[in-house]
Subunit: 457 residues, 2 copies
């Protein structure tokens, strides 16, 4: 869609002003009144000299603040964190920047008490920033994280659209609880006659339209009432889930692998304005302290085939390794994998672990043989599990035999009337953002994180 | 993004097969083995003759089912609602369709008991369909509604991106309650120490990043624990909300008006594949019984300026009208407008009603004068209120004087440190879909509707 805001008159941003001046030459354009712009933003830093003041301002449209110059002395109300309105024009800079904004008129819109302002220092500890989640958007890193979440989500939407998936708004309030692990939040109210839960996964609800539309997806908030406070867990998180008419587990894994590779390629190799913004955001995030080096991981992920290995083989490899270099917890056949096991298996490339024992997986997964189900977990280097999926039990009689309760009769109906082989997957959205940025803790990539004991704002 | 599913091998859809054959000529292409396709879908209708059977199948990629022809007699398991896999090729049709799919091989994937199947009849009453919300996706109308929600949402995302808005995932769980109307669902759990509510609006949370990013938006589930069961209310609904650094109420209304017009134009006049799909979906929905005529409304909305009128003037007009043709409820200065008042004011075009009395509006709205606030409600013909917005009180001392409680101290902080004039709006997403499609009840445009007494599935 072309920019169509013909009637609305949103003001210029630093980004648009810089773009429009990308051909600026060394000759002073000060005589051209058409080049005057008015910008609003927040002061990131300020330096005063005898006859000239330099202020760096940000409006969230770029990550490198714009240097503005004022020929004179600015009052003390021009402090870090204050919002300002500046009218002026770009000129070639004599400093390190290519251009600077020569201020002809300025005013403070909102002052900021520098004695009290919690965000003025650079590189504040993440703990301090989490305690001021409502203000941490004003750090370059958090601004860039919000842009990155936005841009890569758009890339995923484009990928789903190009593969004929339809976005479905699945519900948050539900009378089912999907995996039934006792980790659901429940709601008591007199609006509904029965117990209502907050959804833990949109899968079951997404399977219903898949039986008409063939390919569906959603990005929905999900909720787990677990007391876990690890860097990978939140009480409220977003999950990207897809369901698709597909025959084989390999076919399903192909879809997931393609989605991940395509969106990474779009971000890292794309030539659109969005791709450029995404790369700028990624650089801004990665230039801060809290980030580990992941750029190599992203390149490997983008180009090389993901490994695929059965659970049985994985257990063998882990057991062998454990005999030489013990894990904290030994791998036990028939049990789930722990984080250290996952990290070992995915040490150098993404890997799908398939065919877990049926006994440790939920009722809706399609059996692969007597003991295992046609499922996968996708493990990423240094993170572990990012996504899980399976073929779904599509045979009515088998499904009915394992249905947990009467409440799932509607789910069995999907197989009663025109069942179809299909499968699906869910990917933790916040973990995904954490992994591609290298920001280790999901609490730091979410606008307002909620975890055990914490639901501020 | 170009289709990039090189490794994944999702099967053909009816849409892609029809597209690839759009140049099909009257000469029989049966000798070209490359034109063979395998399709999966559901039987919408079936007719058998002595030596030939005709079945119409749908896979959700088109709204007009594909006519398939089998030279022979199909068994009774080929019934309405059954899912099938068909291999064959397109050929010019001798019937009313341009093309038909000549079946060379077929199998039933999932049978469907026609004695039990609730969806086999055409034009079922909406009540019946609501009682089978998990199966109603299999009606053409609901399939088309899901496509339409998907496509127009993408158009909105594009519009926001082209205007430099950043998408923010605002939280569902909150310790604030925004409008404080006592209509919030609350959650008791031992995960959080205090009372936690389900959000009624993302506005307050969206204002925080706006103080760094300048333009933000979200489409988030919202919850109202009200016992209302009108065609316009749900207990869980989606709201499209935006916040933007802007100085004037007119400037804010310009943004909202532009968003609505731009996305409508994209749907109704666009030349992309998505626009085409949207128009097909709209036609499919509108060709069913339950739809009133709205096409004229959409054209007016797209091209003509929205009216703008103060609340004071609106009350005068309503009072004058009431004296001649009484409303059920008289308009009363200082009170809100009822639905019949809204419909009268918006009888022939969308209208913004501005400057409501401060006494009936929430604490965060910016005063316009002694008695009114700088706010608007946007009313649409035959629907009434679709959106509401305001400039926000950005002056710390004024905001602090009206803060409802200590819990909002974080919200006051946004004004304490670099406040900035700004405003925002919220638009009921499900009402919007209801209005553009002409499907009068929001319960029928939502995948799994929840309202008082109803939280099935």
């Amino acid at each position: 869609m072309l920019p169509s805001c013909t009637r609305c008159s949103l003001p210029a941003t630093i980004r648009t002003v810089l773009k429009s001046a990308s051909g600026l030459t060394a000759s002073d354009p000060a005589s051209d009144p058409a080049s005057m712009s008015t910008l609003k933003g927040w002061i990131k830093s300020i330096r005063g000299h005898k006859n000239v003041s330099f202020i760096s301002i940000s409006d969230g449209s770029t990550y490198e603040p714009l240097q503005a110059v004022y020929r004179g002395v600015l009052g003390p109300e021009y402090s870090i964190g204050a919002s300002v309105q500046l009218t002026g024009k770009l000129q070639p800079s004599r400093g390190r920047q290519e251009v600077e904004f020569l201020i002809s008129k300025s005013s403070v819109l909102g002052p900021c008490d520098t004695m009290e302002y919690p965000i003025q220092k650079k590189n504040l500890p993440t703990k301090v920033l989490r305690d001021h989640a409502h203000l941490r958007f004003r750090t370059t890193q958090t601004t860039a994280l919000m842009h990155l979440r936005d841009g890569i989500l758009r890339d995923w939407h484009d990928w789903f659209e190009s593969n004929a998936f339809t976005y479905i708004h699945t519900p948050v309030l539900t009378s089912s609880d999907c995996e039934g692990a006792g980790e659901t939040f429940s709601l008591s109210s007199n609006v509904f006659p029965d117990r209502v839960n907050l959804t833990v996964s949109s899968q079951l609800h997404l399977e219903a339209p898949t039986h008409a539309v063939s390919r569906t997806y959603t990005l929905s908030p999900c909720f787990r009432a677990e007391p876990s406070a690890t860097p990978r867990h939140l009480a409220e998180f977003y999950m990207l889930e897809g369901e698709v008419v597909v025959d084989t587990l390999d076919g399903l894994m192909d879809v997931v692998e393609d989605g991940i590779k395509s969106t990474l390629k779009s971000m890292l190799r794309g030539t659109t304005d969005r791709s450029e913004r995404l790369r700028d955001a990624l650089l801004a995030i990665r230039s801060s302290d809290v980030v580990r080096d992941t750029m190599a991981d992203l390149n490997t992920t983008m180009y090389e085939p993901f490994a695929r290995m059965t659970y049985a083989k994985a257990i063998k490899i882990l057991t062998k390794h454990h005999a030489v270099t013990p894990f904290n917890h030994p791998p036990i056949p028939g049990h789930g994998l722990s984080l250290e096991h996952e990290k070992h298996l995915a040490a150098d490339r993404p890997i799908f672990i398939t065919h877990y024992p049926a006994a440790i997986k939920p009722f809706y997964m399609l059996p692969a043989d007597n003991d295992t189900v046609a499922c996968f977990d996708l493990l990423l280097p240094s993170l572990g599990e990012i996504a899980g999926g399976s073929l779904r039990e599509h045979r009515l009689s088998h499904l009915e035999a394992s249905l947990p309760s009467e409440e799932y009769a509607w789910y069995a109906d999907l197989r009663r009337y025109g069942s179809i082989p299909h499968g699906g997957w869910g990917m933790g959205w916040d973990r995904w953002i954490s992994w591609i940025t290298g920001v280790d803790n999901v609490k730091d990539v979410v606008a307002f994180p909620r975890w055990v004991g914490h639901c501020k704002y």
